[in-house]
Symmetry: C2
C-alpha cells in the first residue's frame, strides 16, 4: 500500500533470557520488562517464542499438568499486567497451548493437541492467539514430535495498524503465514523466536528477514531470546527490517536488550473481518481488532533518542564463538543451581582453554582447578598449570595421583593403553569425589582450539593462557615422553578431514578427491572408528551424538556402515 | 470380491535379523533365505523393512555414499538372485532410496529426498518400488526427520493375484495405503516391518492386522525383523490374517523364522492399468504386472506340511521380557564385535539379574564376574556372589578395593555420600581397566526386578540366582549396616509411583488422587529430581533419556519444570 496514510507505532522487542520450566520466573521477567517498555512509551511489546515455558520443552508437552500450568500462567499474566497498570499495552508472549492430548503412539496426529502458541494480552484478557504453522524437524529441532501445526494466520489491529503474528520457522520456510500476511495486506509482521546460535547465524538471519519483508510487502520485526539452555545457546540479535530491506534497528548478540523503535506504518482501512476461506498459501486469516489509532506519545516517553532504536555492531567470528561458549556455560551453571565448577588442569592447551572459558563465564574464584600430576608429568606441565591458575584466578589445588595409581596397579597389573587410561580415570574419580563433597559441577576438557588466542588479543589484557601451553607440542603425558603427534596427524592436517567426515558427511573417496592424503584419510577414519568403538565398550547404550560446529548427529551404535563411506 | 475365482499362492515371510550398516552381510542373508524359500516352493518372498541397510539408520541417510551403497546393493542383489537361479521368484526387500539430497536445514522438504523404500526383484531386475507413506515420528521413531513420504500405492500382479505393497506405519495409521488397497481391489496386502518390541506388542499387533485386513477386504501378510539393534529389540511375530480375521499363520517371537504358507487368493481380472488420479485416501495407484497365474507347485515343494504354515504359541509376559533382554544384549555384543562382557558381582539381586541375563545371552564362560569387596562388604554378600558365579558358570574373580579406596581417602578426605560413592566409582574404574586390558564390554547393573524368578521357574532348572540374593533386604553396602530401605520406600510401594511419574507423565496431584500416600509421593518425586541433579552434576550436557517400559523420554536438563507437575 505505497500511498496509504501512515501512523507512528512505538514497538518494543524484549530480547530476554527465560529458563525452561521456570514459569513463575519467566512471568516475572515479562512483567518487569513490560513495565520498562511502558516507561519508554511503547505501544506494543513482543517477547520471544515459548517465553512462558522456556524453549525447548521437549517431552514436557506430554505432561498435562505442565501444559495446564503454561495456559493458566498466560491467563494470569493478562490479569497481572492489568493490575500493574499495563493493561492498555498489547503484550505478545509465546507459550504452550493445547485443547487435547498429545500424540504418543501410532494414532493419527490429533486436531487439538499441543501447540507452539502465541498470545496477545490486552486489558486483562487474552484477546488473540496464534498457533505456529511451520514446524522445524531437522538439526536440533523435533517439533513434528510435539506440536500440531496451526492453519490460521492471526492479524491484530493495534494502533490502527494491521499486524500479522508469526512464530520462528514460519519465516524460515517459504509459503504459509508470510505469504498469507502479504495477502492480508498487513503493515507489520511480528515474528517471535527461540532461534539457536550457530556460526554466522546473524548474517543468514538478516538476509532472511530482509527477503521475507520484501515478500510480505511489510516491515518485519524479529525478536529472539538470548541465553544458554541445556545444549543450546540463543544469541538474541533481534532485528527490524523494512519492506525495502532497510535495517531499522538491531539488538546486540548474546546480551539482553529492550529494543524500542518508532515505526511509521500504513493505517489499516476497512473493518477487521475474518477470511475463513483458504488461500493458495494454505492459511485462513483471522482478524482481531485490539486498539485504534493512537496519538504519538509525549512526555519523557516521546524522547526520540529512546525510540530510534539502534543498530548494534557485529562482533568478530572468534568473539562470537567465545561469547557463545561463556554464555552457554554460565547459564548452564546458573539455571541448574550450581555455585562453582571443578576442572582438571594439566598445563596443556585443552584444559587451559576450558579453564579460561569457565573463569570468564562465572569468575575464577568459583572455578576449582585441580592439578593431578602423575609419575609421568613433566616439571613444565606443573609450572604451566600453576601459571594458568594464577592468570585466571582459579581456586587452585594439587592432588598427586601416584599413590592411587600404584594401589590400582598392585591389584590389576594393567599394561599399555589400559595402564595409560587408568591415570585419566583416576583423575576423573578425584574430580567426581570433589564434586560430590563440595557441590561443584564437573567440566570435562575438550579439544585443542585456537579460540583463546584471538579472544585474549581482542580484550587487550594479560592473556589468560600461558604462551607455553599454546606453543608446546600437545601431550597427554600418560607415559614417558609421549606426544599426541605420536598417534595423531598434525591438527592443521587432521581438522579439515574431521570436519569433512564427521560434520560434512563426506565419504572416504570424497575426502581423497578433495585433495587430502589417502593414507592420512584412512588413518583418521580408522581413529574415529576406534574412538567410537572404545566409547561403545565402556558406555554401552550411550547414543553417539556428535555436536560439532552447531550440527547434531544421530548415528547408529553398530558401525558396520563405515564400510560404505 | 466374494465370488471371484481363486488361485493358490505359496508365500514365504522371511523373519530374519539384519545388522545396521552391514549391507554385504544383509544381502547375504537375503540370498541364503531366498534359496531356502525356493526350496520350499515359495512363489513370492517378503523380507523386512530396511532389510538391506538394517533399521534404524538414523543420520546415515544424510551420507550420500551410504544411500548410494543401499541403492547399488538392491540392483546388484537382483542380478545375484538371477545368477543364483532364483530370478523367477519375486523377492520383496526394504532399503533406503533417494533421488536427491536430504533436508538438513530450514529448506522445504525436498520432493526427491530419502525414502523408506521397498523393491520387488524379479528376473534379474528391480521391477517395482514403493515408498512408505505414513512416517512415524513419536516414541523411538524420528522418520519425519529423515524421509520424504510416498504418495503412490504400488500393486504388483504376482501369480495372477494383485498384491498391494506397504511398509510398517502404513498399517498403524488409518487411511492412506490400506484404504487405497481396498479401492484397488487387491487380493493380498504385504506389509514389511521394522517394528520394535514392547510389552504386549504381540496382542496389539494381532488386533491391528485383523482390523486392517477387514478394512482392506484382503488377506494381510505382515513380516517383521527379529533381533537386537542398538537400543531396540525387534520381536519378529510375523502374521498372516485373512479378511475375516482368521489367523492363518504366525511366526514365533524373538526367533528367526521362514514362514511358508499356501494362500487361496482371488485371481485379478482385467489389465493392470495405473490410476494416476488421487483418491480420497490421498494416494495414486500404480500397477505393475510381474507374473501370471502359476501352476500349483509339485514335487517335494508341494508338501502341504511345509506350506501350511503354523501358529507359533505365545510365551508368558515374564518370558517375553526375559527373552527381549537376552536377545538385545546378545545381539549388542555380537553386532559390535565383542567376545565377552565384564560385570561387578555384589551378591545382591541387581547384579545377580544382570549376570543371569548375560550368562543366558552369551554363555557364562564369556561373562567375567568381578567381586570387589570393600571394608563394609558382609560375609554373606561374598558368599552369595561366589554362589551366583558357580550357578551361572561365570569367569569369576575377586578384587578387593580397600587398598585403592584407602589411597584415595588419604588424599581427598571425603565424607558422607561422597565417601560412599567413591567406592562405587573405584569399582567402575576396576571394570573399565579390565575392559581396556582384555576387551570386555562393561555392563552396568540395573535395578531390582522379579523377572529372574519367573524365568527360573519356567525353565525348571537350578535357579541361576541364589535364593539369598532374592530374599535378603537390598543394600548397597557402602557404609556399615546400610539398607536401601533406609533411603528408599519398599519397591512394591515405590515402583507404581515411578511408573506413573516417569513413564505415565502423571503429576503429583494425579498420583495422590490415584491413592498413593502423599508423603511417599513427595519423597519419591524429590528422589527422582535429586538423582537427575546428581547426573547433571557429573555428566554435564548428557541428555536425560529415561527408557522405561519401552518408552523413550526426552526431557530438559534444567528441571525447574518439576515445580509444575
Amino acid at each position: 500500500m505505497p500511498n496509504a496514510r501512515t501512523t507512528r507505532l512505538r514497538l518494543a522487542l524484549a530480547q530476554v533470557n527465560p529458563t525452561v520450566g521456570a514459569i513463575d520466573g519467566n512471568v516475572a521477567i515479562v512483567r518487569a520488562t513490560a513495565r520498562r517498555a511502558a516507561e519508554a512509551g511503547a505501544q506494543l511489546v513482543a517477547f520471544p517464542e515459548m517465553m512462558i515455558t522456556g524453549y525447548p520443552v521437549e517431552d514436557l508437552v506430554f505432561r498435562e499438568s505442565f501444559v495446564a500450568a503454561s495456559k493458566a500462567a498466560v491467563a494470569d499474566l493478562a490479569t497481572q499486567l492489568a493490575a500493574d497498570g499495563l493493561g492498555e499495552i498489547p503484550v505478545i508472549v509465546g507459550y504452550v497451548d493445547a485443547d487435547g492430548p498429545a500424540r504418543m503412539s501410532a494414532e493419527a496426529m490429533p486436531d487439538r493437541g499441543p501447540r507452539d502458541a502465541l498470545a496477545v494480552l490486552h486489558g486483562g484478557l487474552v484477546v488473540a492467539t496464534y498457533f505456529k504453522h511451520h514446524l522445524p524437524n531437522y538439526g536440533v529441532f523435533d517439533e513434528d514430535r510435539y506440536f500440531v501445526p496451526g492453519d490460521t494466520l492471526t492479524v491484530v489491529r493495534v494502533g490502527g495498524v494491521d499486524v500479522a503474528l508469526t512464530i520462528c520457522e514460519d519465516m524460515w520456510q517459504a509459503g504459509g503465514p508470510l505469504t498469507a500476511a502479504a495477502r492480508a495486506g498487513v503493515g507489520l509482521v511480528v515474528n517471535i523466536n527461540g532461534s539457536p546460535y550457530e556460526l554466522n547465524k546473524d548474517d543468514i538471519r538478516l538476509a532472511l528477514v530482509a527477503r521475507r519483508a520484501a515478500e510480505a510487502g511489510a516491515t518485519v520485526a524479529y525478536v529472539n531470546m538470548v541465553g544458554g539452555q541445556d545444549e543450546l545457546v540463543f544469541d538474541g540479535d533481534s532485528i527490524i527490517v523494512a519492506a525495502d530491506g532497510t535495517v531499522i534497528a538491531r539488538s546486540p548478540q548474546f546480551d539482553e536488550d529492550l529494543l524500542v523503535v518508532d515505526l511509521d506504518l500504513p493505517v489499516a482501512s476497512g473493518p477487521a473481518v475474518d477470511d475463513p476461506s483458504t488461500g493458495t498459501d494454505g492459511m485462513h486469516i483471522k482478524r482481531v481488532p485490539v486498539s485504534g489509532e493512537l496519538p504519538t506519545p509525549d512526555g519523557p516517553a516521546a524522547d526520540t533518542t529512546v525510540a530510534s532504536g539502534s543498530i548494534a555492531p557485529r562482533v568478530t567470528d572468534e568473539a562470537e564463538i567465545w561469547t557463545a561458549l561463556t554464555l552457554g556455560l554460565g547459564d548452564y551453571v546458573r539455571k541448574n543451581g550450581f555455585k562453582s565448577v571443578v576442572i582438571a588442569i594439566s598445563g596443556g592447551i585443552d584444559s587451559a582453554v576450558v579453564a579460561a572459558i569457565a573463569a570468564d563465564a562465572i569468575g575464577g574464584s568459583r572455578v576449582v582447578g585441580v592439578s593431578m600430576p602423575s609419575a609421568y608429568s613433566s616439571e613444565h606441565s606443573k609450572d604451566d598449570a600453576a601459571d594458568l591458575a594464577k592468570r585466571t584466578g582459579l581456586d587452585y589445588r594439587v592432588e598427586p595421583i601416584a599413590p592411587v595409581v600404584d594401589a590400582f596397579m598392585n591389584a590389576l597389573h594393567l599394561t599399555g593403553l589400559a595402564a595409560e587410561n587408568l591415570q585419566a580415570r583416576v583423575r576423573g574419580v578425584v574430580l567426581m569425589g570433589l564434586s560430590n563433597q563440595e557441590g561443584h559441577l564437573v567440566l570435562t576438557t575438550g579439544n585443542k582450539s585456537e579460540l583463546a588466542v584471538g579472544e585474549a588479543q581482542r580484550r587487550g589484557e594479560t592473556p589468560p593462557i600461558p604462551e607455553n601451553s599454546i606453543s608446546k607440542p600437545p601431550s597427554a603425558e600418560l607415559r614417558p615422553d609421549q606426544l599426541d603427534s605420536d598417534s595423531l596427524p598434525d591438527y592443521d592436517v587432521l581438522d579439515p578431514i574431521l570436519v569433512g567426515y564427521v560434520d560434512g558427511d563426506m565419504s572416504r573417496d570424497q575426502l581423497i578427491a578433495a585433495g587430502h592424503d589417502p593414507e592420512i584419510v584412512n588413518r583418521t577414519l580408522r581413529m574415529v572408528d576406534l574412538a567410537e568403538y572404545k566409547r561403545r565398550q565402556s558406555a554401552p547404550g550411550t547414543k553417539i551424538s556428535i555436536k560439532a560446529f552447531g550440527r547434531d548427529r544421530r548415528l547408529p551404535i553398530t558401525n558396520n556402515w563405515r564400510e560404505h563411506v
